[in-house]
């Protein structure tokens, strides 16, 4: 991969209702070699509208990657997943569940709803940042989209 040309902007949508977590994740994503443009929404309803480019989000860019928490106000992560993965075109967008829950059922349900993968947020901040960078690196550099 060429390192001397500026990489194209990658669009990342963070669906996260904890401002601290959202900040940590944004910082970690920006530290990667890619050139991310990050949008943060803090509830499931806005996440769906953003992805569907509806209402206030009519001109929203289509994300290359979505990091989605499960427990959110105004439509939880499972509901967002169900709606997006039902859509013939939007289902192609990789959705990584990044959640603090350790609950086996919740994880299983996410995979049933076709989450691309699930990552449990490490309690340790440094490990959390590392995990976010690995997610970015794998999804935006290794996989094809």
């Amino acid at each position: 991969m060429s390192t001397d040309r500026k990489p194209a902007v990658v669009e990342i949508l963070l669906v996260e209702d904890s401002p601290d977590d959202a900040d940590l994740m944004s910082d970690a994503l920006k530290e990667g070699c890619l050139n991310p443009h990050i949008t943060v929404v803090d509830n499931g309803e806005d996440a769906v509208h953003f992805l569907q480019q509806q209402g206030a989000y009519a001109t929203a860019p289509r994300p290359d990657l979505v990091l989605l928490d499960l427990f959110l106000p105004r439509k939880n992560g499972h509901e967002v997943l169900a709606e997006i993965k039902r859509d013939a075109l939007l289902r192609r967008i990789p959705i990584v569940i990044l959640t603090s829950t350790d609950n086996e059922e919740a994880i299983r349900a996410a995979y049933d709803l076709h989450a691309n993968c699930c990552v449990t947020k490490p309690a340790d901040q440094e490990q959390f940042a590392q995990a976010v960078k690995k997610i970015e690196s794998f999804w935006l550099r290794v996989t094809r989209r």
């Binding site: 350790d102 086996e104 299983r108 995979y111 993968c117 699930c118 449990t120 999804w139």
Partner: protein, 149 residues
């Protein structure tokens, strides 16, 4: 840093790949990885389904935690296998990583449409191929929380 709580048992990987050389390289790379895993190699789509159904010689097959799936194979191609897996009420939650030599846009879209968890084009260069397999191991076997059965 392994965040998986799989009770210390090895991660069961089903490798569906018709080219022996590619399969050998993949298995070598995974064996060298940090996370304990067991690789089950089948050479075509029909064998993959038989493995999941625990039929014939696969009667004692474990349920895979992860499936690495080639697309262009005889007797049942990867797209058909993917469709069967992702429509099945139980198997659908097993992550499927497409690993194929095809970088055809149509194949990529079709795979994601059928809910492939991710799609990786096999590099032609062997070192890059090994690197790609290591990336899979580094991500799917380390960071990712795989679903329980």
């Amino acid at each position: 840093m392994s965040l998986i709580s799989n009770g210390g048992r090895p991660i069961e990987i089903l490798l569906v790949e018709d080219e022996a050389e590619a399969a050998e390289t993949t298995m070598e790379a995974l064996r060298d990885g940090r996370v304990r895993n067991r690789i089950h190699w089948v050479e075509d789509g029909e064998e993959a389904i038989a493995f999941l159904r625990r039929q014939n010689r696969h009667a004692a097959a474990p349920r895979p935690d992860l499936i690495l799936l080639d697309l262009n194979m005889p007797r049942m191609n990867g797209h058909e296998v993917l469709d069967i897996i992702k429509q099945h009420p139980d198997w659908r939650r097993i992550p499927v990583v497409i690993m194929t030599s095809s970088d055809n846009e149509k194949d990529i879209l079709m795979a994601y449409d059928r809910h492939a968890n991710c799609y990786i084009t096999k590099p032609l260069d062997i070192d890059k191929f090994i690197e790609a397999v290591r990336s899979i191991e580094d991500f799917w076997l380390s960071i990712v929380r795989l679903p329980a059965a």
